[in-house]
């Protein structure tokens, strides 16, 4: 038990009971699980399940050990369905077997050699799987029943593959094959970079919520090393985080309008967004808020002139935005296509422990900024919008309200930002410590788990919100008109480049004419 983190060493036989007690009785939300190859340290593998008790703002870490040879650990998917993906990931990458569930390849290519587990420490950093130059193609007969969306498709700005099984114009089933954007981040961080460089790597996990990732990483490391980061730095972090939330949500609204064919709305939303982008550049020196986060503080300060400029821009934006939304929401087609489409009922939302606006639109009142306060959020007062309908309109409205909330948060923080340094001078990071941090990204809770090592993390695990939101799509799209599929897929604001850090999955059956 440390400040707000509870470490439980769960023996294998009690793991399931403990997990079910936490998840079902104490209604903690399941965040992720991390497999670690600790053989160099203590000759065991270990799996750590991360829960958060959002009401008492507690992190609960369930750690279970497994033997070095033939590691076996009981699966908790029966009591915690949300653990499905991350257990499979641990199985693929570390060869840990989960007893009491069926195993399938999630993240590794089908033709990946058996018994090679890339995240084990004895696998060399530059191990390259065999490249296949050609991709399989669908035969004409199956094409008419199956609508492939992606990997390169106007409805997605990233290479992902959804197979929609349709009858006429209705979707009857969905198959998701992802992990195209895998770039080997975790292995890269554990083998090439040092603590400070990883900040820049973490940013590039995702171009929209990059700053969330680097903040999350930095906070995790600081927590592990027990560093006291200057207050001013924390304020600046929160401010930039909110700027990023605003531009991300505006971006989403614009794209949503585009998907319902309301291009004027798209253009005007992005016109407003451009001001925010300018703001981001003013505050961080990069339009995508890259490159000011370091372990122990930030690199760029906010002076009086910038502060005034920020407030002024925010004032314009909020007034223009309100006016535009009022108009756009009343466009008949927008209404008809947002209301009642892509519904996600609450019970499913809880079971899959979805994140962010998706959860809040389905009546789950959780927001890491309030429940697990970090950076400088404890100094700002804001309300968390929650809707019960769980349809696309609800998700849109949640985001609209969050934009306005964020604006007020920034104004509050700028108002009471303290003087002082913005960077911790000299510090060292001890080995073998554990830090886990949740940061509320625009898409939901972002989880970073850091186990410190010599000069670089021993294990660094990233869990992006989309990772836990994608399984919900199956329920949202079922029996929906095909025409709504892109909008619904977009409505979880998928960020595949976050999700796919892990290992390439080969997705077959795409239409070659689409390229």
């Amino acid at each position: 038990m440390e400040d707000n983190t509870v470490y439980i060493n769960a023996p294998r036989e009690h793991l399931v009971d403990l997990a079910s007690k936490l998840f079902n009785d104490f209604t903690c939300s399941f965040r992720t699980c991390i497999g670690i190859d600790e053989r160099p340290l203590n000759g065991h593998f270990s799996v750590t399940h991360v829960f958060t008790d959002d009401r008492n703002s507690l992190y609960v870490l369930l750690k279970t050990y497994a033997e070095a040879e033939a590691p076996r650990i009981p699966s908790i998917t029966n009591v915690v369905p949300a653990a499905d993906w991350c257990e499979m990931e641990a199985h693929d990458l570390l060869g840990i077997e989960f007893v009491g569930r069926d195993h399938y390849r999630l993240v590794l290519p089908p033709e990946w050699p058996e018994g090679v587990y890339p995240l084990r420490k004895d696998v060399p950093y530059d191990y390259r799987p065999r490249v296949r130059g050609v991709s399989e193609r669908l035969s004409m007969s199956t094409e008419l029943g199956v609508i492939p969306i992606g990997p390169y498709h106007p409805a997605l700005h990233e290479p992902e593959y959804f197979e929609l099984y349709v009858e006429g114009e209705r979707v009857v089933d969905l198959k998701y094959r992802g992990f195209h954007v895998h770039r080997g981040i975790e292995k890269l961080a554990e083998s090439r970079m040092n603590y400070q460089q990883i900040n820049f790597l973490a940013e590039r996990i995702c171009g929209i919520c990059g700053f969330e990732h680097s903040t999350c990483y930095a906070l995790a490391v600081e927590k592990a090393a027990k560093l006291e980061v200057p207050e001013r730095a924390q304020y600046i972090r929160s401010i930039v985080l909110e700027v990023e939330r605003i531009h991300s949500h505006l971006l989403w609204l614009g794209v949503a309008f585009h998907f319902v064919g309301y291009d004027a709305g798209f253009m005007h939303t992005w016109r407003i967004r451009e001001k925010i982008m300018y703001l981001a550049e003013l505050l961080t020196g990069s339009r995508k808020t890259y490159g000011i986060n370091l372990v122990g503080g930030v690199r760029k300060d906010i002076n009086e002139e910038k502060k005034q400029k920020t407030l002024e821009v925010l004032r314009e934006v909020s007034s223009e935005f309100k006016q535009l939304v009022e108009v756009a929401i009343n466009v008949p087609q927008v209404r008809r296509r947002l209301v009642g489409t892509g519904t996600l009922p609450k019970e499913y939302a809880v079971k899959l422990s979805v994140e962010g606006p998706v959860a809040r639109a389905s009546g789950i009142d959780k927001d890491a900024r309030r429940d697990l306060p970090y950076a400088a959020y404890k100094y700002a007062s804001f309300k968390v919008p929650v809707y019960g309908e769980g349809d696309n309109m609800a998700r849109a409205l949640v985001r609209v309200e969050e934009i306005l909330e964020s604006i007020s948060i920034i104004e509050q923080l700028l108002d009471k930002i303290p003087k002082g340094p913005i960077m911790l001078e000299d510090f060292e990071i001890p080995e073998g410590r554990i830090g886990v941090q949740v940061v509320e990204a625009p898409r939901g809770g972002d989880v970073h788990f850091v186990m410190t090592g010599r000069g670089r993390p021993y294990r660094w695990r990233v869990r992006a919100p989309t990772y836990s939101n994608i399984p919900a799509l199956k329920i949202m799209l079922k029996d929906q008109p095909l025409a709504d599929a892109p909008l619904t897929i977009a409505s979880i604001d998928p960020c595949f480049s976050c999700t796919d850090r892990v290992i390439v999955v080969r997705s077959d059956g795409r239409i070659e004419r689409l390229g």
């Binding site: 064919g261 004027a264 466009v331 004419r513």
Partner: protein, 294 residues
Amino acid sequence: MLCTAITLLAGTSLPVFLDGLERKLKAALQSRIGPPITQTLYDLLKLMIKESKQVHTVPYIILYFTSFISCALTSMFLITLYTITWDFMLFALALSLLMVSLTALTLIPLLIPNPFSYIGGMREVVLSLVNESAFVASVAIYIVSLHFKAGFSTPSTPHLLVVTIPALAIMFTSGYALTGRPPFDIAEAEPELASGVLVEFSGALLALYLYSNLLKRFLVKLFVATMLVTLIAGNGVLSVVLTCLITITLWILFTVISVTLGRSRVDLAPRTLAKYYIGLFIIPIAGLVVLAYG
């Protein structure tokens, strides 16, 4: 002879520049500069020189295109002639030709072995079934209402209110829907279709298809304009010029409408339209019956 040349020249070149104008106008409403007014022309010229990837059904497609363009141009010529001579036969011919050409164009995407193109094509068919029929019917009723007393005559007030105005309303809507602007650009613009009916075309074929669409837009508007001019049925040349002007105004009007709207869904659009049409058709038909036997 000269008249023919002029009509065909105007009819073939105007749509391209009007489309350029439309894009400019859209841009202005989205508070940006937008492309030069000749942009559409540039696009088409560029596409002509691009390599075109062949699909094995190309011969049929070409056939359909030729049939469409020939029908369209003929009908355009006839309708202009009609605005000069006010000979009803010409008009009937032009209308039928218009329908034939539209159908030809609608069926092209179904020839392409690609699921997106196929789905898009089916959607197009569903929509145009509703709209074309409505268009023809409304035009017919409109003409009848003018022909009620022998020869063209501006109809009496009850006619105007009960028969002519509703017929015009339907004509406008179906005409608008036929031009495939939002909210009725379902066939190609829906994102999950990857530019649906266009997906497989490239190079010259694509240019041909885009141009045919522009021609179609122009033709439909031309018809609506002619109908309006028929109300006055003035002397030849004047009415031709008038028709042209009205067509251009219609184009601009439609553009502005399309900017402020989103895209309807494939299962919603035909249903809504059908309801709307049926609702409006009852009035003029009932009116005609009453005025005839009352």
